[in-house]
């Protein structure tokens, strides 16, 4: 499982793990029903205390993202789609909040941001893979 821990931005490690698993589940890179790595395995991979992984899995279970089978593993919940929609929104909201705060400090209005958003959007073009890429300069 592709998870990266950073210590420079002050976010607790268990929350970084939980957030990234939410993201992997919301984006479909973790499929419903898929088993998460055992606590020991993930702790060894990330070099964190196992209790941190326990805490991350616990938080995800409380949020309904995963469920634990007694005496077995931890699995991504089925029927996550509505939650995943909410999760996808949440990810974008966080980015937007940061963008709006930055814009405010650089003295741009929300209308400026909207105008720039549309300008940038016009420069992007969808390619067959479903991705958006910058258009080649004319």
């Amino acid at each position: 499982m592709d998870i990266t821990i950073t210590l420079s931005d002050g976010i607790p490690i268990y929350r970084q793990i939980a957030n990234q698993i939410r993201y992997l589940a919301a984006s479909g890179r973790l499929a419903p029903g898929e088993e998460l790595p055992p606590i020991r395995t993930l702790a060894l991979q990330l070099r964190v205390t196992p209790n941190t992984v326990v805490k991350a899995y616990g938080e995800l279970e409380a949020a309904g993202v995963v469920w634990k089978r007694a005496g077995a593993g931890t699995y991504v919940s089925e029927g996550l789609s509505r939650l995943a929609d909410r999760e996808r929104e949440r990810i974008l909201e966080q980015r937007l909040d940061a963008l709006l705060a930055e814009a405010h400090h650089l003295n741009f209005t929300a209308d400026d941001v909207l105008r720039m958003f549309n300008e940038r959007r016009a420069l992007m073009t969808p390619v067959p893979g479903g991705e958006l890429v910058r258009k080649e300069k004319a």
């Binding site: 210590l7 420079s8 002050g10 020991r40 702790a43 070099r47 209790n51 400090h105």
Partner: protein, 301 residues
């Protein structure tokens, strides 16, 4: 009722005139990892040596598994694994002799686990300890410390002077000790990123006193790092409430502060500034501020 694996109460210790520990209390419960941080000479090793019964408590008390490690060294030490800072090992022994020697003291020795670890470290059992490199010496010491599957693993500066590969071996040993049936680990380190990753609980020792102790998340939650911008220029750090350390100059300052965030905002606002962003402080930032470095005198002009 669950008892603490380690219970240190009000422990003080002096070496001659120099006070090494001053009223230290410390508890460790089962299944958790305890990180001990502090500058060299802060008292970390002295505290650990008391847990092992290598030093007798002059004032205060030390209990490990409810026992006094000085009066009952056998009862304590057979349940403890220890890797010392300078990895004192009998120089003249071969690696396999070291294993047999250590095994003799530990009825719970798991010979196949020891063999498996030696193999994974590619340690030659026929080599003498004095021929080992620094990293190999740490690995041999680590096998001797964990192969009896101790209930309590004590590591004193285990990463000190080691390359990334051997450091990883040490961290893996910590994870395995805790993950496999909930044993307890206490380790000291000056590498704060390592402590932040590996500890459930952190204790900061400064000049022989505990300056900070608690669950890592609780400790970190008490401190924030904020970027602050003012209308006017400040040549000196602006006098803000609960600020422990400040960097910057002129209109932009980065402030490490504790306590209520609202109060901090008010304090910034009162000086004609605004808080641009706040986040939880990293352990390193807290440590530097608490150890008195990074602190600039905040005095009224």
């Amino acid at each position: 009722m669950a008892t603490n694996v380690v219970e240190v109460s009000n422990l003080s210790r002096s070496f001659g005139q120099k006070s090494a520990l001053d009223g230290v209390s410390f508890q460790a419960t089962e299944g958790r990892v305890y990180g001990l941080v502090g500058a060299n000479g802060a008292g970390k090793t002295t505290l650990l040596k008391h847990l092992l019964g290598l030093l007798r408590a002059a004032t205060g008390s030390v209990r490990v598994f409810g026992l006094d490690p000085v009066r009952d060294p056998v009862g304590v030490l057979r349940r403890v694994g220890y890797l010392s800072e300078d990895r004192e090992l009998p120089e003249w022994m071969r690696v396999d002799e070291l294993m047999r020697y250590t095994q003799a003291y530990h009825p719970t020795w798991d010979a196949s686990y020891a063999r498996q670890l030696l193999e994974s470290f590619a340690l030659d059992p026929s080599k003498e300890v004095k021929e080992l490199s620094k990293g190999m010496r740490a690995q041999a010491g680590l096998v001797a410390a964990v192969a009896h599957r101790p209930e309590l693993l004590i590591l004193d500066e285990p990463s000190s002077g080691l390359d990334a590969v051997v450091r990883r071996d040490i961290l893996d040993a910590i994870v395995r000790t805790v993950a496999d049936d909930g044993r307890t680990v206490i380790f000291s380190s000056h590498l704060l990123d390592e402590v932040e990753r590996m500890s459930d609980h952190v204790t900061m020792i400064h000049h022989g006193r505990v300056t900070l102790s608690g669950a890592l998340d609780d400790v970190r939650r008490g401190y924030q790092r904020s970027r602050v911008r003012f209308v006017e220029h400040f040549d000196q750090p602006p006098p803000l409430d609960a600020a422990l350390a400040m960097e910057g100059g002129g209109r932009s300052w980065s402030v490490l502060h504790s306590g209520s965030i609202e109060q901090f905002h008010h304090s910034v606002l009162a000086l004609g500034g605004e808080v641009i962003e706040s986040r939880d402080a990293t352990l390193e930032e807290i440590f530097l501020a608490r150890a008195g470095r990074g602190r600039q005198p905040v005095e009224a002009a």
